[in-house]
């Protein structure tokens, strides 16, 4: 009997791409907080690195992510992220604009001595945990868009093992330090995030632990 027409399975959920990985083994080794080391310092250092590494790959994909190709910040067939503007209104933005806002905002935070102190003797502010949760959620959205809209290009550029590992590391780290909300990863039932299923698959495969 004929089945209902379904959207084809996204490539990032298909074999062999879903298994492609640069880093094999348990992320625990590099996620675990080193004993005696300040947790803020550890998280700050890792967020700094995630930002740099994501930016590196986004830099390669910018030519494919234009306001024509991506008029919205899509992350699932029913999901477009909106940006909250200065008037606290939520607006649709082309993906490259949205991502540029995110990356610029994060870069400014990283450069802000009050948020990410680099001089010795300076402490993290008490707001630091809530700030970095925002950062994490926005970086997650960038990953979600790249998986949803640009995975083919990632495949053409033979970067899927790298990109997968970077994202899996990001998820594992976010989970360990409670920087990720599961509902941000999965989205709502009527507007699921594409990578929500990837999260499930990777959990089943043991790539990230539940």
């Amino acid at each position: 009997s004929p089945t209902a027409p379904t959207a084809p399975k996204p490539l990032y959920l298909c074999s062999p791409f879903v298994e492609a990985a640069l880093v094999v083994g348990n992320f625990k080794t590099i996620v675990m907080q080193p004993k005696h080391v300040d947790v803020m310092e550890w998280v700050a250092s890792n967020i700094f690195d995630f930002y740099q590494n994501l930016n590196l790959f986004y830099g390669v994909l910018t030519e494919c992510c234009t306001s024509q190709s991506c008029p919205t910040m899509s992350a699932g067939s029913q999901l477009n992220y909106t940006w909250i503007n200065q008037d606290r209104k939520s607006v649709q933005l082309p993906a490259p604009t949205y991502i540029d806002y995110v990356m610029t905002w994060v870069q400014n935070l990283l450069d802000d001595e009050n948020v990410f102190p680099t001089r010795s003797g300076r402490d993290f502010s008490p707001n630091f945990p809530s700030t970095i949760k925002h950062v994490y959620r926005q970086l997650l959205r960038v990953f979600a868009h790249l998986y949803h809209a640009h995975y083919e290009q990632i495949l053409h550029l033979r970067s899927e093992p790298h990109f997968n590992s970077l994202f899996a590391h990001f998820l594992a780290f976010g989970k360990e330090y409670e920087l990720l909300d599961i509902k941000d990863v999965k989205g709502s039932p009527n507007a699921p995030v594409g990578i929500g299923l990837l999260w499930e698959r990777w959990k089943d495969m043991g790539i990230i632990t539940s």
Partner: protein, 478 residues
Amino acid sequence: GQSSSTPSAPKERGADYVYFERTTAGFSDDAIPRAKAAQLKLEHYYKVAVDAAIERNTRRVELERKLAADTTTSDERKQRQLLQLGKKESSFLRLKRTKLGLDDFRTVKVIGKGAFGEVRVVQKTDTSKIYAMKTLKKEEMLKKDQLAHVRAERDVLAESNSPWVVQLYYSFQDPTYLYLIMEFLPGGDLMTMLIKYDTFSEDVTRFYIAECVLAIEAVHKLGFIHRDIKPDNILIDKEGHIKLSDFGLSTGFHKQHDSSYYTRLLDSANGVQSPTTAARNSVAVNAIHLTMSSKDQIATWKANRRKLAYSTVGTPDYIAPEIFLQKGYGNECDWWSLGAIMFECLVGYPPFCSESTHDTYQKIINWPSYLMFPDDVHLSHEAEDLIRRLITSHDRRLAVEQIKHHPFFYGVSWTAIRNIEAPFVPRLRSITDTSYFPTDELEQVPEEPAGGDSTGANKDLAFLGYTFKRFTISSSGF
């Protein structure tokens, strides 16, 4: 015959197995190299992350074990030491987020010039600490094919805590230059000292050569061959003891790896002379050799010596013949170089020095006919014997233990030599005193490094992973 272990076996492919036709059509020319660069950077990132995790763990376990074995220290103090370690690890993490650049350093003085850039005494502006900063022009290094070399050797040497190797603390880059921040050795180098004193007594020579033996041995124990040991690379610390300059970074850059150059040399050594060298070879060799002991010839050589040190070609005077012959070589080549340096310390010039580098190569390859001890310089029997056992074919050259037991070193305490008083202790007026460097001969060098302008993106690929920060557990931080 189980095929289940072969991931590519078609049977294994599940229902969701997809063939994807990859193509680079539709991407800009830039995209492919940029993607490659991003991949390499990420690979490097994860390698370093794993190593760092292991090293951090080792440091902690070692301290915990040490504290557990220590019965005299109170628990409270032990706890403090662990906290202290945690603080250091934290500040190291912070350091990684700190971007150091040219503007964090102020030039005090230009003190040296090398094949690929200059060496300056600099002061880190926020801490006022003094360092030596070496600049290396990337483009020059790419041209000379020196990269594999730099990358392979850097990390190990950077991690070595050996007192015989100049410490590297930090490195960064801009599009044009690599910058190395290392410890500043205020005593100058052995080349400058030899230019100043002409020759050393046997006692003084014994001291420097013995220290060099230990330094070279330390390098070999790290698994490296220096290949380019020469007086310019033997630096003097504030107590007058020696350290080898950070090779793999700074030295060994020269012609050794330009194989076509050697092929040409080899051909001419075998009589397949190119038209340009034929005329020169036939007459000049002996003539130069005979006049070499005359004082003004040596003066000419010495005057050129520093210029040679500043050129990209470098001086071949200390390089072992087997390196030219390209049939593979082991770490014995460094002992040849030491023999040549010892000869120079006692005689006043290196054994195969000539008016042109080409003639020097010829003499080294035909060393049995050219190794001569001049009549007007008196050497002890032991000194001459040691030199002859170092400047010899690689299979007959002494190994490190034999060298240490050679009668020339009679009385040397190999374990204590770094702690005894050196023959020349630099007299320094301040921590930035540069009087042991020929600073007045460096007039064309700009005071402040120029900083970078843009070059092609693919060039940076070669310097991947160059930015380096040292974790110094003993020092109070960078």
